[in-house]
C-alpha cells in the first residue's frame, strides 16, 4: 500500500501522483480528502483525492511544492512509498440535480474541482467551468476539466491564455447571460472570498471547499476551525465544504498563515540540508 505507481509533472512545482490505496479508492467520494505523511518525522498534511481507479486500486493526488512536507512528497519517485496515508476524510460533496452549475477553479483548485464537476455532471446538471490562474504555465488539468464540462472557460491574470482578467470577470459574464442555480468555488483563499462576494450580489447559492491547516484530520485538534455564520465549525469533520456566504473569510485567511513564521524556518533549514547533501 501507499506505493507511487505513476508520477507526472503537471506544471512547474505541481505533480500528479497515482498511489496504491485500494481501500480509499473504493470508499472515497467527490469532496473527500486524505492525509499523507512522508518520513518518520514527517508532518501530516491534507491533500484532495482527484480521482480513483477501482481496478488498479489507486487514487490520484495532485501536490504542489510549497513547504517542507509537500516538497518531500513531490520528491518521491515512482516505486517509492508515502509513509502514511489515511482517508477518505471529510464529508463528501452534496451532489444533487439543481440545474446549471458554475464551477470556479483557481490554480491548484482545479484538482479538487475535477471530481466535484464529474459528480454534478453525472447527476444531470449543466456544468460551466471557469479555470483561472495567474499565468498560462499554472493552468492544470485543462483537458480533464473540459471533458467534464458543458462549457469551459479559461482566464489568466496576464492574458497568456484564454481571456485576460481575474476569475470574477469571467463569472460576471456568465451570470449576466444565463441563470446559474449554484456556484462552486475552489482555489486560493482570496480567490474564494471574491467569488463568494460576486455570487452574493446575485443571490446565487455558493459552496467552497476550504484547505484549512490540520493535524489529525479526524476532529481532534481543532486547528482547522472556521467561523460559519455565528458558529465555529471544524473543516475536517464538518467540511471541507461550506456555504461560502456564511464564512468569515478574513479570519480564514489569517488562520491559513497561522504557522507561516515557523514553516519558513523549517523550509530554510530543509533547503540548507538539501544543499549540504
Amino acid at each position: 500500500m501507499n506505493k507511487i505507481v505513476k508520477k507526472e509533472k503537471l506544471a512547474e512545482r505541481i505533480y500528479r501522483l497515482e498511489v496504491e490505496a485500494p481501500l480509499i479508492a473504493a470508499s472515497r467520494k467527490a469532496g473527500n480528502f486524505i492525509i499523507a505523511r512522508t518520513g518518520k518525522l514527517g508532518e501530516r498534511i491534507p491533500l484532495t483525492v482527484v480521482d480513483s481507479d477501482l481496478d488498479k486500486g489507486t487514487i490520484t493526488l495532485v501536490v504542489q511544492e510549497m513547504g517542507v512536507s509537500s516538497k518531500k512528497i513531490c520528491a518521491l519517485n515512482e516505486g517509492e512509498y508515502i509513509t502514511d496515508l489515511v482517508g477518505p476524510l471529510g464529508r463528501p460533496t452534496d451532489i444533487k440535480k439543481v440545474g446549471t452549475i458554475l464551477a470556479c477553479a483557481g490554480g491548484l483548485g482545479a484538482a479538487p474541482m475535477l471530481p466535484i464537476i464529474k459528480a454534478f455532471k453525472e447527476a444531470g446538471n449543466r456544468v460551466i467551468t471557469i479555470l483561472a490562474a495567474r499565468s498560462k504555465d499554472l493552468l492544470i488539468l485543462k483537458e480533464e476539466l473540459a471533458a467534464n464540462s458543458d462549457e469551459f472557460i479559461i482566464m489568466t491574470d496576464d492574458g497568456t491564455e484564454g481571456k485576460k482578467g481575474l476569475i470574477t470577470v469571467g463569472m460576471e459574464e456568465v451570470i449576466a447571460r444565463e441563470k446559474i442555480d449554484e456556484c462552486i468555488a475552489v482555489g486560493p483563499g482570496v480567490m474564494m472570498k471574491f467569488c463568494a462576494l460576486t455570487t452574493k450580489k446575485h443571490n446565487i447559492p455558493t459552496m467552497v471547499s476550504l484547505n484549512a491547516i490540520m493535524v489529525d484530520g479526524t476532529g481532534m485538534c481543532g486547528a482547522c476551525r472556521v467561523t460559519v455564520g455565528d458558529e465555529t465549525k471544524f473543516t475536517c469533520v464538518d467540511g471541507p465544504e461550506f456555504d461560502a456566504h456564511k464564512i468569515d473569510f478574513d479570519e480564514f485567511l489569517l488562520r491559513l498563515g497561522g504557522y507561516k513564521d515557523q514553516e519558513n524556518v523549517l523550509l530554510e533549514n530543509f533547503e540548507k540540508s538539501c544543499k549540504l547533501k
Binding site: 508532518e43 479526524t218 481543532g222 472556521v226
Partner: protein, 494 residues
C-alpha cells in the same frame, strides 16, 4: 471487576502469604514511613521534553514499601480499582522479592501496568481505599509506585511473563481505537481466544497515551512495550484506518467480524465561544500536545511546526491543562501560567501533577475567567480575564465561581492553550445507523453490559463517558470484553 471475598481469602491463605504476614508484626509494618518517589530536579527536567520526572523506586525501596501493606483480610483497596487488580497479592510478591510474579498478577487484570503505575489517580482510587487512609489516617501504601516498579522490572529484565491465551476460537472481533480502553478490551478478548483486530485512525498505536500524555510523564517506549506484548498474544493492529470512513462497520461485518468494541475516544476540543478565540496563537490542548507528542514538533528534525510562546497561558485546571503548561515550559516559555476560574483547592488535576508544575515554575492564576482574546493583525497578544470569587456550592458540590462586577484585567500573552474539555468524536455516531446517541454526542450503552442500541456494538471510554481517566476507560474495556464474551459464547452454544 472485583471478585468475591472468598476468592481473595483463598489466595490470601496460601502458605507463602501466611508466612510473610507472620514475618513482620503489624505494629512494625504500621511504623514504617511511606516511601518517597525519587524525582529528577525541576531545573534539570524542565529543560527536556523526554526526561521522565519520576525516576521509579529501587528494589530496596519497593520491598520496604511493600512491607507496609497489611495484606488485609478484606482488601478494600481493590474496591477503588476500576479494573479490579488483586492489589495485596501483587504487593506481597514484591515483598517476597518476586517482582515477575507481581507483574504476572497485575497483568491478570491490566493490559497496561507500566502506564497505569504512572498516570492513574491512585490517590482518588486504590490508595483512597487503603486501610492506612481509611482506618489509620496515615499516608496510604504507595500502590501506584509499586505497580510501576513491577512493570519496569519486567521491562528491564530478560525474563518476560508469558500470559496464557486460550486456544483460538476463530471468532473475529473488531476494536475501534487503540487507546487505553481499546487495548484493555483487546488484551482480555485475545486471552479468551478471539481473533482481535484493532483499527486506529492515526499512524501510531496508543491513542491518548501517545498523542496526549507527554513523554516526561509516560515515555512512548513503554507504551510500545505493552503494545508489543499484545501483538505477541495475537492482537492485530491496523493503523491509518478510520472505521466509518475507510470502511464502514457494515463492510467489516461482511468480512466476518462478529462484534465490535467502539473506543474511539475524545474528539472535538471545546472552546469558550468568546471574542478573539480563533486568532492565531489560541489553540486547543489537543492540537498543542499532538504536535509535540505525536509529531515531535519542536525537535530539530521534525517537519511539523509549533508555536513556541514566550508568555503562555493554559486555560483549565485538569490533567490535560497540567500536561500542556508543563510542555510549554519545556518548549522554552519564559512565563507559563494556568488560568482557572475556581480556586487552587478545586483544581481537578492530580495533586502530584500540580505539585510538579509548581516546582517547574508554573504560575497558578486562579479565580480568573477569560472573556476575550486580544490581538494585533490576527496574532494573539493578550487575554482579558474576569476576576471571580467563590459563591454557593453548585450541583458538583464545589463552590460556584461568580464574576466580581467590574473587575477585569488584561494579561499579555502570545499563546493561549484551551484545556477545558472535549466532546466525543462524531465519526462513529455519524456513520452507524440505529446507534442511540445522547444529547452530548456520546454513545448510549447499558451500564451493565456496555452494549449499545445496536446488538453487535459495544462501547466505552471517552466516546461513552465524554471525558475520563485512562483507568476508567480501561475498566470499560474489561467490562465490555467480559460481557461480549458471555454473549458470543451463548450464541456459539446454541
Amino acid at each position: 471487576m472485583k471478585q468475591s471475598l472468598d476468592y481473595y481469602k483463598e489466595l490470601r491463605n496460601e502458605e507463602w502469604r501466611v508466612a510473610l504476614r507472620k514475618n513482620i508484626k503489624a505494629k512494625e509494618r504500621i511504623a514504617k514511613e511511606r516511601v518517597e518517589m525519587p524525582e529528577v530536579p525541576p531545573m534539570v527536567r524542565s529543560k527536556s521534553q523526554t526526561t521522565e520526572v519520576n525516576k521509579g523506586l529501587t528494589k530496596e525501596m519497593a520491598v520496604e514499601e511493600a512491607k507496609r501493606c497489611m495484606d488485609c483480610a478484606n482488601p478494600t483497596c481493590i474496591d477503588g480499582c476500576p479494573v479490579g487488580i488483586n492489589i495485596p497479592k501483587f504487593i506481597k510478591h514484591i515483598e517476597n522479592e518476586e517482582p515477575l510474579k507481581a507483574i504476572a498478577t497485575l497483568k491478570e487484570s491490566s493490559a497496561l501496568p507500566a502506564a497505569c503505575g504512572r498516570v492513574c489517580p491512585q490517590e482518588k482510587q486504590c490508595e483512597a481505599n487503603c486501610f492506612y487512609t481509611l482506618k489509620l489516617n496515615k499516608p496510604a501504601v504507595a500502590i501506584g509506585h509499586l505497580e510501576r516498579y513491577a512493570a519496569d522490572y519486567e521491562n528491564n529484565s530478560d525474563e518476560k511473563v508469558v500470559q496464557e491465551v486460550a486456544p483460538s476460537n476463530g471468532i473475529k472481533v473488531g476494536v475501534v481505537g487503540s487507546g487505553p480502553s481499546g487495548l484493555a478490551f483487546a488484551g482480555d478478548m485475545v486471552k479468551f481466544g478471539y481473533d482481535v483486530t484493532v483499527f486506529e485512525a492515526l499512524h501510531e498505536i496508543g491513542g491518548v497515551l501517545k498523542y496526549g500524555i507527554p513523554e516526561f510523564r509516560l515515555p512512548n517506549s513503554l507504551v510500545d512495550v505493552e503494545i508489543e506484548s499484545l501483538k505477541r498474544m495475537g492482537v492485530k493492529f491496523e493503523t491509518n484506518f478510520i472505521v466509518g470512513q475507510t470502511q464502514t462497520i457494515e463492510q467489516l461485518r461482511e468480512q466476518g467480524f462478529k462484534s465490535f468494541y467502539v473506543a474511539s475516544g475524545a474528539g472535538l476540543p471545546r472552546f469558550m465561544n468568546i471574542p478573539g478565540e480563533n486568532v492565531n496563537g489560541v489553540l486547543s490542548a489537543n492540537e498543542y500536545l499532538t504536535r509535540v507528542n505525536l509529531m515531535f514538533a519542536g525537535s530539530a528534525e521534525a517537519d511539523t511546526p509549533v508555536i513556541k510562546g514566550k508568555n503562555v497561558a493554559v486555560i483549565g485546571g485538569g490533567n490535560t491543562a497540567m500536561d500542556a503548561v508543563r510542555t510549554a515550559i519545556r518548549m522554552g516559555a519564559e512565563n507559563a501560567m494556568i488560568i482557572y476560574r475556581r480556586s487552587l483547592e478545586q483544581l481537578p488535576a492530580r495533586a502530584e501533577e500540580v505539585h510538579h508544575a509548581k516546582q517547574e515554575g508554573v504560575f497558578f492564576n486562579t479565580l480568573k475567567n477569560p472573556i476575550e482574546f486580544l490581538h494585533e493583525s490576527g496574532k494573539l497578544n493578550a487575554v482579558k480575564v474576569q476576576h471571580m470569587e467563590l459563591g454557593e456550592p453548585d450541583a458538583s458540590g464545589r463552590r460556584r465561581p461568580i464574576p466580581i462586577e467590574g473587575k477585569t484585567e488584561i494579561i499579555p500573552i502570545d499563546v493561549a492553550i484551551m484545556a477545558i474539555g472535549v466532546s466525543p468524536n462524531p465519526i462513529i455516531p455519524n456513520s452507524v445507523k440505529g446507534l442511540d446517541i445522547s444529547k452530548w454526542g456520546t454513545i448510549e450503552v447499558s451500564e451493565e453490559t456496555r452494549q449499545s442500541s445496536v446488538e453487535d456494538i459495544y462501547a466505552g471510554g471517552d466516546i461513552v463517558r465524554g471525558g475520563a481517566t485512562v483507568i476508567l476507560a480501561m475498566g470499560d474495556g474489561r467490562d465490555a470484553a467480559a460481557s461480549m464474551h458471555k454473549k458470543l459464547q451463548a450464541e456459539m452454544n446454541n
